[in-house]
């Protein structure tokens, strides 16, 4: 028995039919066809599937698709500007944080949600804030430093995210 889910995806009203056991990650990747949320573990451990649900960073593999009705889901596709990059994306790129890049979409989402809540964080708070996102290439220091640089204004004002 399929369930109808109506939600806002990256600013677009969206309606899909899902199996009750389907996760939000599977719905985004397999039904809608987005590829920016990655599947690294499917157990809520690695963070590569991180998206924003009503402004909060969540691991989409641990959210049932059927529970997002009426909510706002934002993936990396939804925050990437038409031209250029967000300060966090620019900082990650210039710092050389991504190596293989597979954890990066999740990192951008986690960092974006984190800075919205904590605009002036300490390095320790940043590391804590990104601790749910694993990077097997070992880019942690660069990711953390990039977030600090963004918080310190080195990449310009952090613009308001469009809902």
């Amino acid at each position: 028995m399929k369930v109808k889910v109506c939600f806002n995806l990256n600013g677009v009203p969206t309606e899909i039919l899902v199996n009750p056991e389907m996760t939000l990650l599977e719905a985004l990747r397999d039904i809608i066809g987005l590829t920016s949320p990655k599947c690294g573990c499917n157990h809520g451990d690695c963070g590569s599937c991180t998206v924003m649900l009503d402004g909060k960073a969540v691991k989409s593999c641990t959210v049932l698709a059927a529970t997002v009705s009426g909510k706002c889901v934002v993936t990396l596709d939804g925050i990437t500007p038409a031209t250029g990059l967000t300060p966090i994306q620019q900082a990650f790129l210039e710092e050389g944080a991504p190596q293989c890049g597979y954890c990066t979409p999740g990192m951008v989402m986690a960092a974006t949600a984190f800075l919205e809540k904590n605009p002036n964080p300490t390095m320790a708070e940043i590391k804590e804030g990104l601790s749910g996102n694993l990077c097997r290439c070992g880019g942690y220091d660069k990711y953390a430093k990039a977030v600090k640089d963004v918080a310190d204004g080195k990449y310009g004002p952090v613009s308001e995210r469009s809902e």
């Binding site: 199996n19 066809g33 590829t35 920016s36 949320p37 990655k38 599947c39 690294g40 573990c41 499917n42 157990h43 451990d45 690695c46 590569s48 993936t75 990396l76 596709d77 990437t80 990059l85 994306q89 620019q90 990650f92 790129l93 210039e94 050389g96 991504p98 190596q99 293989c100 890049g101 597979y102 954890c103 990066t104 979409p105 951008v108 694993l134 990077c135 097997r136 290439c137």
Partner: protein, 437 residues
């Protein structure tokens, strides 16, 4: 001042794709109507398969194909082709693929897997490489647990490298320093698990979007498995979501490709995290025993190294790693009298894949710690012992290679500077260009 780009900071050429999520990895490649492949894995470390019954699984809704070893045109693969695409009579490690299903949905594939009936007889297994060397150890493979190296026309249980007169070297030494170094199993654990998308294109060519690190490593190998000419296949390498050497071993291409050939439909096969951790190739254990003869002035007069590489259940890349290790394990030191005995043994673990240096770095861990012990015995600094024994231009390695463009001394000088380590003038004035001793 950056010259020709050296020293200049450049943004990664594919970095824009990474930070925007636009980079497409093998696991992101989709094909409409693709079947989902799931694999039944052996739940025992070692077992005899008494029977496999796939008849019920084949009748399950949405199922297009169920295969076992009998359906694989050529069931052996890998660099040393002793690995089994799907398990034969005796399984060798927990998680070894036994059967594969292609179905319309993941749920249907998993339901069908549950209907495959396999009768196993569990057999004794061995995990410790030194235990596996014993004559009465459980046999991992019919050929015996100890790997036989091809030396000319002969098969030998030890890869031997000799230089100089080791006994004479030990006799000249003031100290004998011994060390034993063990490296455990390490899983590569890339964040993207291994994945393949296989389909027949409009020209009848089998196309594989693969998470392989070496398209040309695997093509000939897969031509063998599928019994397909290489001009009837096309491998597409994608950006890898981390690999660290795991992508040199085939984990999904062989089965996905075969199911695409058999069903005529696109087939998507991606390992779950559990499968990646349990059944993909790993960096298997190494045990190094090093015995050095050292003079009071820090000169190493003799070195004996015994290497035992635990290769896991199949040879895979173990022999390559073992060979490479044997040739480089003695480090960047000029040692007149040197002997290496390298052995490889099979255990009931996943097979030895390549991982970050094909056995070289693990050997260097042992060798570098041993050098510190040597320095301690002579009462000199770890830096000094490295300068005293460093390779120079034109030196021979223990394997007989003549070294050109040597920079051991300059590297050590650079390292000392970075570490704020004060060096004696004689080491600061030293050069790798000095004529070989």
């Amino acid at each position: 001042m950056a010259k020709n780009g050296v020293g200049a900071r450049k943004t990664k050429y594919d970095g824009y794709g990474h930070v925007t999520g636009k980079t497409i990895y093998a696991s992101d490649v989709k094909k409409a109507g693709a079947l989902i492949c799931k694999v039944l894995r052996c739940p025992y470390d070692k077992a005899r398969i008494l029977s496999i019954d796939t008849s019920e699984a084949k009748k399950m809704p949405g199922v297009f194909d169920v295969i076992t070893k009998d359906d694989v045109p050529y069931n052996r693969f890998a660099m040393v082709p002793d690995n089994h695409v799907l398990a034969e009579e005796i399984t060798r490690f927990r998680g070894q693929p036994v059967a594969a299903v292609a179905a319309a949905t993941k749920e249907q594939a998993l339901d069908a897997l549950a209907k495959i009936k396999v009768e196993y007889e569990e057999l004794p297994a061995v995990f410790d490489p030194e235990e596996a060397m014993k004559p009465d150890a459980p046999q991992v493979r019919p050929e015996g647990n100890i790997h036989m190296y091809q030396v000319g026309d002969e098969l030998k249980d030890t890869r031997i490298i000799r230089r100089g007169d080791i006994e004479k070297g030990f006799a000249e030494a003031d100290y004998i320093v011994e060390g034993r170094y063990k490296i455990p199993c390490i899983e590569h654990a890339p964040i993207e698990t291994c994945a393949s998308l296989a389909y027949m294109d409009e020209t009848g060519t089998l196309v594989i979007h693969s998470k392989t690190q070496g398209v040309y490593f695997v093509m000939g190998d897969m031509a063998n498995v599928w019994q397909l000419p290489m001009n009837k296949m096309k491998f597409v390498g994608n950006t890898l979501g981390g690999s660290f050497g795991s992508g040199n071993s085939v984990m999904t291409d062989h089965i996905a490709g075969l199911l695409a050939l058999r069903t005529g439909k696109p087939v998507s096969f991606q390992l779950t995290r559990k499968e990646e951790m349990m059944a993909s190739t790993i960096s298997t254990p190494w045990i190094f025993e090093i015995k050095d003869g050292v003079r009071k002035d820090g000169k190493i007069t003799a070195r004996y190294i015994h290497v035992l590489h635990d290769c896991g259940a199949f040879t895979e890349l173990g022999e390559y790693a073992s060979e490479k290790n044997a040739n480089l394990v003695a480090g960047a030191n000029y040692i007149e009298n040197l002997a290496v005995d390298s052995q490889m043994v099979y255990t009931n673990k996943p097979a030895s894949g390549s991982k970050r240096g094909f056995g070289v770095n693990v050997g260097q861990f042992a060798e570098q710690v041993q050098l510190n012990k040597d320095a301690e015995a002579c009462g000199i600094s770890p830096m000094e012992i490295r300068f005293i024994n460093a390779f120079h231009e034109g030196d021979h390695t223990h394997a007989g290679d003549v070294l050109r463009a040597v920079s051991t001394v300059e590297t050590l000088q650079g390292v000392a500077k970075m570490a704020d380590e004060k060096l004696d003038d004689k080491y600061l004035e030293m050069s790798s260009r000095e004529v070989a001793k």
